[in-house]
Amino acid sequence: MSLVEFRDVKKYYTMGEVTIKAVDGISFDIDEGSFTVVVGSSGAGKTTVLNILGGMDTCTEGQVLVGGRDVSSLSDKELVMFRRYDIGFVFQFYNLIQNLTAKENVELATQICRNPMDASEALKSVELEDRMDNFPSQLSGGEQQRVSIARALAKRPKLLLCDEPTGALDDNTGRTILKLLQRKCREDGITVVLITHNSAITPMADRVIRMGSGRIVSNTVNENPLSVDEIEW
């Protein structure tokens, strides 16, 4: 059963006389509990897809269904609620509030949720229970990203969206993060959508969607996803 359905989604930006087709009619499904990687080079429109999927942006045309709900027809206010209850977001640059401790950053999310995880528990699940009271500046990049993941997970989202989560990290740390995400997907059945320009990590995904110039180049299901440790890049 697919959690996410994109039906001929288009996103155009009009800048003066020029119309930029960021996303130009794409359709795909994502199964619940699967790990999907959207891969493409810069400007391929993957971030737009992520934005539309995450309720941060709306599509110009087409339909986006998340859990059977038509996200594309939601009002701004409904989108906020959608983001709040259904989406967890992991940023490339973590986007932690510098002035809040790890735990508080997680709490920032849990404060507005209906049935959140306990912040400490969330941090524990990313193995950061010892660094709960540290400020982001006192944490390494990987640790910060883990806080970011904990913050996203704490909301118990339907969908965990990750925007180049390893982009700002070295390989080893990146691996740890990917492992964590994979584990969450496999163990806790969280649907993960990860966008990256790095094709090397595609083998770990259940589904790989390749994009180029706003269109889907390929949409393949990986029958045997590898664990992160098995991937070389």
Partner: protein, 1135 residues
């Protein structure tokens, strides 16, 4: 700078236009406001400078109590430094049918000789008068006399017509004019009618019938070129004034020699004769008084003597009574004794009489028995005895005669018998019978014996018996006589006693009568004395009364005469010492107040905008430094590309300078015309005669403001840029390490922190994290709040002056000034004090003084107030401590000094001050300081005054409060008192309040300008700060949005900080505002005005509310901005 750099520069401006415009706007406001306010005074001075010059406003207006002659005018013209002279006329008259409204009528200015026209007037409507019965009126709100209407004048002096002043008293209005002498609505004061001038009017000089000129206008040669109100002008004017006074002295001397001396002589004579008359009358009164006193003394001594006599008489009467009583009692005893004796004597006499009677009866019987034996029959005996009790000797003799006769008869019979016997014998002898036997013989012998015995017996009786009887009779007679004499004696004694009784009774009666008489006399004497006393006293009293009334009348007459003399002397004095008044422009109504007003604005301009600009520059500086920090990556890129440090720095300096310069220029371009115009137009409500504003840029302040603004902003650009450029380009290219999160102090206070909600904690952390922003916001908001506080505070402080000065401290409604000490005008005093329209009345004296303490000296607008009665005075003048409201310690121990004066002198209670009044100095101790807002006062008790100045205070000023229950008709009271003899002037507090209120209302515009400017600044500052805040936290905000924060929640997240910072800023601003207000007030305050020191709650509330309002407004605008923030921002890499 390379072309690209220039391009980059413009791009930057475009990119950061919000910030650029913010800086520009803030600088615009700051510089514009500062230069605008500071240009106001020069502009306002420029207006009058030009106006005065154009109209050739006089420098001096000379008035003489005796008028001026041609010679006087000539002498003035010849005085060194005099440019033009213009002799003219003026008179104060009542406007007919306008209930005591006073108009000052001038002659239309006319050039004199070679002199230029002075005080040239401007015809606003109509034309100048051409005929003698035409008039022009001064422009004002007093619009009762439009062109074409008729003005009728009345003499201000009762029962006097105006023919000695004008050719006619009815004029037709032909025009409306303005005169440079009257720039404001103020028309000055007068000593006739209601006491204030309501309008000025002008008629042709030929309409005046006054002999001498009443005024002479003078302008100075050098004064022309000097700016009015300037110190140079005042110095030069004073110098000319001295020269004019010299001329005046000479002319006055001449006048005095010509006219005065004879008049003085006649007054002196009148005075002398008055003194003589007075002395004589006083002597007479004294004599009469002496007489009365003597009479009283005499009455007393006589009364005393009479009383003593009466007392003696009374004593005598008393003793007489006693004596009489004694005598009576003695008499009674004596009489009783005599009566007893008499009774005894009577008993004795009666006994003796009884004895004698017995003896007589016995003797009668004896005698009878004797004589009966002798033959005297009872009848004979009784016959002889008669009814007598006893026989006298002659009776015995008669008896013995009878006996004799009887004897004779017996003898005869014997003889016969003898014969018979003899015969018988003879017969018998013859017969020899024994005779004896013859019966006849025996019988006869018997008979004869018997008869012989009888005769013998008779004989015996006749010899001895008779004698014996006689003796016995004689003895009895003697005894009888003795008894009779005893009886007689007794009777005599009785008679005597009876007589004595009568006499005594008579004597007693007489004595009693005498005593009664004496008593009557005494009582009469007492009554008489009493009557005399009463009568005489009454007489004396009447005399005294008569004398007293005579005295009073005399005194009244004297005081009247004295008053007349004084008046005459004063009149003469005013002539004799003709006074020349050298009025300067300062005496023109409105002239000085204009300067005061301008100076007040000037003072405002010295503080308020400076602080204003300070805030503006501060905010700009922070904004700029932020901006440069944000441009870190660009700077990094530029350095990497090999641009010179200098050029890069220059770029940012250029950015700062262009924003500042444009802001400054726009600010000046807007502020200089707008602010002076707004303020000037506000003041033109007061100074309606003035032409429109001549803008004068205060170049100094403009240059300083621009330089300071540019220096500050470019310095900041330089220093921040320079600091950045010290880093290696690589470092710059890397995003600046985000500021590390830190635990804040509050977290250590566990019990507070743990009770705070999550967002409260976040907010608290954020606030304290960004210290720069914290201080920037707090200081910015505080500055604006402080400005608003001080603007509102200034407003209420100024308004307080009137409310407090004339609402709480000086509570009188009317002041009546007497022309002399009321000692000489008791009627006036009685009248005022008895006036039922007044609730309280106090009599006092108020004189201008110079007060010194150490090397400090205050002499202008400083008064010495001496109340006649402290009790009356303090009912009207509330001397109290400003802070505690306690009554000031006003008594004989020292003087009470008004607060501002005390501050200027630097004295406190217990200190000593030197007060100089009319050249007399006195050292006084300050006993207390009292609240007061206008002018300086030294309050002194009359006793202390007398002691300190060695002279009794002469009171001439009445302060009265109107009864609240009765409507108070000021015009009526005013005209009534001005008509009263001896009243110099009447003024009403409402007038003072009105003129001050008018002045205040203009200042309120200034305050309004301040408030609006401060508010604008507050808005811009808050906007700018929030803008920076949002710009710096875009990423955070978009992350929150991605996390699913609603717009409202996102805004709340940011606003919590903003609101808190604003609150901090407002709180700090209120504190700062108090300080700033204090500073502004002391700077703006004129010397002798103290603005209110209370900061009303509404000032704080309003200021806080206004700031809050702007903050909310900014927040609303920012909410829209926040809404627009794209969540995609969160995905961007950290720049």
């Amino acid at each position: 700078m390379s072309k690209m750099l220039v391009k980059n520069f413009f791009r930057d401006i475009k990119k950061t236009r919000a910030r650029f415009i913010s800086i520009m706007l803030i600088i615009m406001l700051g510089v514009g406001f500062l230069v605008g306010i500071n240009s106001t005074a020069p502009s306002m001075y420029a207006v009058v400078d030009e106006y005065y010059k154009d109209s050739n406003l006089m420098d001096f207006r000379l008035i003489s109590t005796v008028g001026f002659t041609q010679e006087d005018v000539q002498a003035l013209e010849d005085t060194e430094g005099v440019e033009d002279v213009m002799p003219s006329y003026f008179a104060d008259v009542l406007l007919s049918g306008e209930s005591d409204k006073v108009a000052r009528v001038y002659a239309v200015p006319q050039a004199y000789g070679d002199s230029q026209l002075i005080n040239s007037i401007t015809v606003v409507e109509g034309r100048l008068p051409e005929k003698d019965n035409e008039i022009v009126v001064g422009q004002s709100d007093f619009s009762d006399y439009p062109v074409g209407s008729v003005v009728k004048f009345e003499s201000p002096v009762k029962d006097k017509d105006l023919s000695s002043t004008f050719v006619t008293s009815e004029f037709t209005v032909v025009g409306i004019v303005t005169s440079p002498m009257y720039i404001s609505f103020e028309r000055g004061v007068t000593n006739v009618g209601s006491g204030k001038v309501s309008a000025y009017m002008m008629i042709p000089a030929s309409s005046f019938t006054i002999e001498r000129y009443t005024e002479v206008y003078v302008t100075g040669t050098e004064l022309d070129s000097l700016a009015p109100y300037s110190a140079e002008y005042e110095n030069a004017r004073d110098e000319l004034g001295l020269r004019l006074e010299l001329t005046g002295e000479k002319r006055k001397f001449a006048f005095s020699e010509e006219e005065i001396d004879s008049a003085q002589a006649s007054i002196d004579e009148a005075k002398l004769s008055f003194e003589n008359k007075k002395q004589k009358a006083e002597q007479e009164i004294e004599d009469a008084q002496n007489q009365i006193d003597e009479g009283r003394a005499r009455l007393q001594s006589e009364t005393a003597k009479a009383e003593k006599d009466l007392q003696d008489a009374k004593v005598q009467i008393e003793s007489g009574r006693k004596e009489l009583a004694d005598k009576k009692s003695q008499y009674i005893t004596e009489t009783a004794k005599a009566e007893q004796e008499i009774a005894q004597g009577e008993a004795e006499v009666e006994k003796a009489e009884a004895e004698i009677a017995d003896a007589k009866a016995q003797m009668k019987e004896e005698i009878y028995s004797q004589v009966s034996a002798l033959g005297i029959t009872r009848e004979q005996f009784d016959y002889i005895y008669g009814d007598r009790e006893m026989l006298s000797v002659s009776d015995v003799n008669r008896l013995s005669e009878l006996v004799r006769l009887y004897k004779g008869s017996v003898d005869a019979r014997i003889l016969g018998l003898r014969t018979i016997i003899r015969e018988i014998e003879a017969v018998c002898s013859l017969s020899g019978t024994d005779p004896t036997t013859v019966e006849e013989y025996t019988s006869s012998v018997n008979r004869l014996d018997e008869l012989t015995a009888e005769s013998a017996k008779l004989e015996e009786f006749l010899t001895t018996g008779k004698t014996e009887l006689i003796n016995a009779v004689e003895v009895l007679i003697d005894a009888d006589a003795e008894v009779a004499s005893s009886r007689q004696k007794l009777e005599d004694a009785k008679a005597e006693l009876a007589q004595g009784k009568v006499t005594a009774q008579q004597e007693f009666e007489k004595a009693e009568q005498q005593l009664a008489q004496a008593e009557k006399d005494y009582n009469e004497g007492v009554a008489k004395l009493e009557k005399t006393k009463v009568d005489t006293t009454l007489q004396l009293d009447n005399a005294q009364k008569e004398l007293d009334s005579k005295k009073k009348e005399a005194e009244r007459e004297f005081s009247k005469a004295e008053k007349e003399l004084r008046k005459a002397q004063k009149e003469l004095d005013s002539l004799a010492n003709p006074i020349w008044y050298y009025n300067t422009r300062d005496d023109n109504p409105g002239y000085s107040s204009y300067e005061d007003n301008v100076e007040r604005i000037n003072a405002v301009g010295k503080v308020f905008p400076v602080f204003f600009m300070l805030v503006a520059v501060l905010v700009c500086v922070t904004t700029l430094s932020r901006l440069v920090e944000e441009q870190r990556a660009d700077i990094g890129a530029l350095t990497t590309l090999g641009y010179k440090k200098k050029d890069i720095i220059l770029k940012y300096i250029a950015y700062a300078l262009s924003a500042t310069l444009i802001g400054s220029v726009v600010g000046i371009a807007l502020g200089v015309p707008v602010i002076p115009t707004v303020i000037y137009n506000a003041y033109r409500i007061l100074y309606s005669s003035l032409p429109s504003l001549i803008l004068r840029l205060n170049l100094g302040s403009a240059v300083v403001a621009i330089l300071v603004a540019m220096a500050c902003t470019s310095a900041v650009a330089f220093f921040t840029c320079n600091a950045l450029l010290k880093h290696k380009p690589a470092t710059l290219l890397r995003p600046k390490a985000p500021k590390a999160g830190k635990r804040i102090f509050l977290e250590r206070i566990g019990f507070v922190w743990s009770r705070m909600s999550f967002f409260a904690k976040v907010t608290a952390r954020n606030i304290f994290r960004y210290k720069a922003r914290f201080f920037m916001t707090v200081i910015g908001v505080a500055g604006c709040t402080a400005l608003i506080v001080s603007a509102f505070g200034l407003y209420s402080s100024i308004n307080d002056v009137m409310d407090k000065q004339f609402g709480e401290i000086f509570t009188y409604d009317v002041i009546i000034a007497a022309d002399d000490s009321v000692e000489y005008n008791k009627e006036l005093k009685e009248k005022v004090f008895a006036d039922s329209r007044f609730e309280h009345t106090a009599l006092c004296r108020q004189t201008l003084i110079t007060v010194k303490c150490g090397d400090k000296e205050v002499s202008s607008d400083t008064y010495l107030a001496v109340p006649e009665s402290i009790k009356d005075y303090t009912q009207i003048v509330n001397l109290r401590d400003r802070k505690t409201g306690e009554k000031a310690n006003f008594g004989n121990s020292g003087v009470v000094v008004s607060e501002k004066l005390a501050k200027n002198l630097g004295v406190k209670s217990g200190d000593k001050i030197t007060v100089e009044e009319n050249g007399v100095e006195a050292e006084l101790t300050v006993s207390d300081i009292c609240e007061n807002y206008m002018y300086g006062y030294v309050f002194i008790s009359p006793e202390l005054y007398a002691q300190a100045f060695s002279v009794q205070a002469e009171f001439d000023l009445f302060m009265c409060t109107a009864k609240e229950s009765v409507p108070f008709d000021e015009d009526k009271v005013g005209s009534e008192y001005l008509d009263t003899e001896g009243v110099l002037g009447v003024s009403f507090i409402s007038g003072s309040i009105k003129s001050f209120d008018d002045m205040i209302s203009s200042l309120n515009y200034v305050v309004l300008v301040m408030i609006i400017s401060a508010a604008a600044l507050a808005f811009v500052v808050l906007y700018n700060l929030t803008n920076i805040n949002i710009a710096e936290r875009k990423r955070e905000i978009s992350t929150l949005k991605v996390l699913g924060f609603k717009n409202s929640e996102t805004s709340a997240y940011i606003y919590r900080e903003n609101i808190l910072l604003t609150l901090f800023g407002v709180a700090a601003g209120l504190v700062l505002g108090v300080w700033l207000l204090g500073y502004i007030i002391t700077t703006v305050e004129l010397d002798m005005v103290m603005f209110g020191r209370d900061i009303h709650a509404f000032t704080f509330v309003l200021s806080a509310l206004m700031t809050a309002l702007f903050a909310s407004l900014v927040n609303v605008i920012m909410h829209l901005r926040l809404k627009k923030i794209d969540m995609v921002e969160s995905l961007k890499s950290v720049e």
